[in-house]
Amino acid sequence: MNIVVCVKYVPDATADRHFEADNTVDRVGVDGLLSELDEYAVEQALQLKEKGDGTDEITVLTVGPEQASDAIRKALQMGADKGVHVVDDAIAGSDSLATSLVLAEAIKKIDHDFVVCGMASTDGAMSVVPAMLAERLGVPQVTFGSQIEMQGKEIRIRRDGDAATEVIGATAPFVLSVTDQSGEARYPSFKGIMAAKKKPVETWSLADLGVEAEKVGLSASWTQVEDTAARPPRSQGEIVTDEDGSGATALAGFLASKKFI
């Protein structure tokens, strides 16, 4: 089975993150990396491949700026076979609808049986792209898989819900998203790092995909970011000390003032 893994290049969450003047995320002036949640998607694809007959091919796909090739490289170092990078200035500022359009058109051009995504990006974090992809590709979706297993031609996916755990059987084609519970993502070995250098990476533009520039980008996006503000610094919490039995009243008063009770 050939697998496409969608991986997103995101600003490093441990560094300072900024917005541009047009309220889009600054993706150029900051260090970025492969979204950590997408490492799980790569890991699951690799595990499926390792348990397979060895003929499977894993293609990692990213839509993002020039530097997003870093995310592809990391996935190749982990063990994926080849990469596709869709990069085009016109894509900048795309929302999830536009992003999913570009991803879907790219996926159609890649020989594949099914698609694996992360559960959410660590920057946008909307968790909607996998569903949009399934819709655009006209295939079923299984989201939030926490355990993946191949049984013959069928893939069995465990979904842990609040009330129940479901096990879903699916046959390709489909779009799958996996959670961070699906199994620790591997570190690239030194050999993996060196081997990645020789793995093929194709770079596609919107024209290569036959997507019109007007359909993507900031102006075509359905969502508009009006304003952004930095998270206010954490203020020191209020400590209620109980010396004379008035603590409970003070605590209740505090909770009431914050409309918790």
Binding site: Q67, R73, Y187, P188, K191, I193, M194, A196
Partner: protein, 393 residues
């Protein structure tokens, strides 16, 4: 890594090297300083970190691929060593096992010796200690007296070694001894692999003030009988082989020291940003900022020289690498000591507390000025070799 900085200009490392650094740093940060100190204080080892590094091929990066290594260079191994130290986990045995012993065996060992030792050095399931220092010879390694005498097919080894790191964790020790030249009767150095469980080999820990899970030992080699294949390389080319292991040793020691320096500087920087007295973070005072900025510069310069030495060594230029490796080792030791000292100072009273753990770095950094070759011996080398000055000894 942005595309703009991706051009292959000299003075920057290749993408793969930078990826390696990033992955090692991430893996090591999962263990972190707390783990390292806890293991040291409880008398435990860092075996799980070591094996984790081995499993990912990070210990064996510089060893040949056909023997389980990664086929990279000493520059890659130095990057691994530095990143570990920069995360607060300086692993001294990296300098010894894969760098000195691994290099000597892979360059001069027989097929059998390589097949026997290298794969397990590469994956970390065996570590090999290295013993050259002797109580009476010290820095003057020409004066070592541990001798190897022919005994039928094999050898009998006798002598004493001191400050040998990690013998308790090692499966074998690469011992520098001397053999008698059959023609001239003069003694010349030769290298022997001695299993740590060999009969007649005993070792005792030396109490050291370094906070480290890796310890130093006195080694008593009391007529240890060895088979013929314990001798690594040519009995008559021992000196050249010994020197082949010394460049990697110095490059690794430099990387180890710059890593410690980076760790100290990171801690200091973080602290001075947060600590406020006189109404401003103390890092705003130039009296605090400048020494740290100085350390940043000194560490970067030492790193650059370390990378140059590694690049020369990996390109096969042993002579060029020799001078650069010595200079890198010198600069790195000085930079590490200064950084540790300044890091303690900017912490004020906290610099001496166990909680902040900064004072312990002083000794660790200090050791990099002494071992594996002291700063004075490097200055001697640069004086006589680079400047052509006469020698006093």
């Amino acid at each position: 890594m942005s595309a703009e900085t991706d051009t292959t200009v000299p003075f920057t490392e290749a993408d793969e090297r930078r990826s390696l650094r990033r992955e090692v740093a991430k893996l090591a940060s999962g263990y972190g300083r707390e783990y390292f100190v806890r293991q040291a204080r409880n008398g435990e080892k860092t075996t799980d970190l070591w094996l984790d590094m081995g499993k990912h091929g990070y210990l064996g990066v510089a060893l040949p691929e056909e023997y389980g290594g990664g086929g990279g260079g000493i520059g890659d191994l130095a990057a691994v060593c530095e990143e570990l130290a920069a995360q607060g986990c300086p692993l001294l045995m990296m300098v010894v096992s894969p760098a000195i012993c691994g290099t000597v065996i892979s360059r001069f060992g027989t097929e059998e010796q390589k097949a026997r030792w290298l794969p397990s050095i590469a994956d970390g399931t065996l570590t090999m200690a290295f013993a050259i220092t002797e109580p009476d010879a010290g820095s003057n390694s020409h004066d070592i007296t541990t001798t190897a005498r022919r005994d039928g097919d094999g050898w009998v080894l006798r002598g004493r070694k001191i400050y040998i790191s990690g013998v308790d964790e090692a499966g074998a020790v690469l011992v520098v001894a001397r053999t008698e030249d059959a023609r001239t009767g003069r003694l010349k150095p030769a290298l022997f692999v001695v299993p740590t469980d060999a009969e007649g080999l005993e070792y005792q820990p030396i109490d050291m003030e370094i906070v480290s899970p890796e310890r130093q030992f006195t080694l008593f080699v009391d007529d240890v009988r060895l088979p013929a294949d314990a001798l690594v390389g040519d009995e008559n080319a021992g000196i050249a082989q010994l020197f082949a292991g010394l460049n990697p040793e110095r490059i690794m020691a430099a990387a180890f020291a710059t890593g410690i320096g980076r760790f100290a500087l990171d801690k200091a920087t973080e602290y001075v940003k947060g600590r406020e007295v006189f109404g401003a973070p103390i890092g705003a005072h130039q009296g605090v900022a400048h020494p740290l900025a100085q350390s940043k510069i000194e560490i970067e310069l030492a790193r650059l020289m370390t990378q140059k030495a590694a690049a020369l060594y990996d390109a096969g230029d042993d002579t060029g690498a020799g001078e650069a490796a010595n200079m890198a080792k010198y600069a790195a030791g000085e930079a590490a000591c200064a950084a540790a000292d300044r890091a303690v100072q900017v912490h004020g009273g906290n610099g001496i507390t166990t909680e902040y753990g900064m004072a312990g770095l002083l000794v660790a950094a200090r050791a990099t000025r002494i071992a594996p070759v002291s700063r004075e011996m490097i200055l001697n080398f640069v004086g006589s070799h680079s400047l052509g000055l006469p020698k006093s000894y």
